[in-house]
Symmetry: C2
Subunit: 142 residues, 2 copies
Amino acid sequence: MTLMVRLSDCTPPGLAAFLRSQKVTPTAQRLNIAQILFTQHAHFSAEDVFNEVNKSDAVVSKATVYNTLGLFVERGLIKKVLVDPVKVFYDSNVAPHHHFYDLDSGKIQDIEPDQISLKEVPDLPDGTCLASVEVVVRVRKQ
Amino acid sequence: MTLMVRLSDCTPPGLAAFLRSQKVTPTAQRLNIAQILFTQHAHFSAEDVFNEVNKSDAVVSKATVYNTLGLFVERGLIKKVLVDPVKVFYDSNVAPHHHFYDLDSGKIQDIEPDQISLKEVPDLPDGTCLASVEVVVRVRKQ
DNA sequence: TTATAGAGTTAGACTTATTCTAAGTCTAAC
DNA sequence: GTTAGACTTAGAATAAGTCTAACTCTATAA
């Protein structure tokens, strides 16, 4: 269930098998979206995915794009990245890593996990368990 | 210009002097908003500030709330906190620290700086300089 | 003081990301 | 093949945040 496994076969049948293995019914729309997400490392907004998936002949509605991204997040196939105050990005790299966010260009870049790491994880608030640790390094021109 | 200095005098004249020292003209609306932000440690959404400031007799418009929060961020008096996918929070604690975000309740909590810290800052992308480093530890019930 | 320029504020319209709704379509299990 | 329920859809709805254009205040100079 790592990124490598997913990327090993990005043909429609390969993606369909992968989705099935994740208990996701592989519909035509989901395959189109999966193809976009899993054949390249990038950070997509919902709008990016919508534009990309509808660039060719395929037509997938906005609602389905949001539904599918939400489902994939729920299944752990992609991760939400909250770096921009106005929209959510989605990252098909679910391995532990962090992000640069360029305030001027709005571009997101991965920070490799060995490039940054926490000295210690703080004591969590009572009655809670860890969900994720996200580091965002904001940079600007110059 | 630390939090301590600011909190030492939260009377209207004290706040007015503080704003003036930060090159911010102390209007009635800004004083009302500053009072809310600087007399307690908390994380406010724009809506929180709007409700709080209009709870008593004062009436401050939504536009002014957004303008003022933006101005205070620009002047470094408060910080934006991006932890929630749908709205921005503002933190009157500008000292270096990080945040817990409870996915179930939506509550934000400070992580003291000695509780977490980075082993090393990664090499920044070419042509950029550091703006900020933000760590968000997401937790959930249990 | 008072006049004035420009900074600040306002209501409400607007924009934009995201969610909802209700009706139609597909999938898969029998 | 039927069928129940999962999936998709267009478009309406929601909600955070921004914009506009008119009005009001602040503070500086005379």
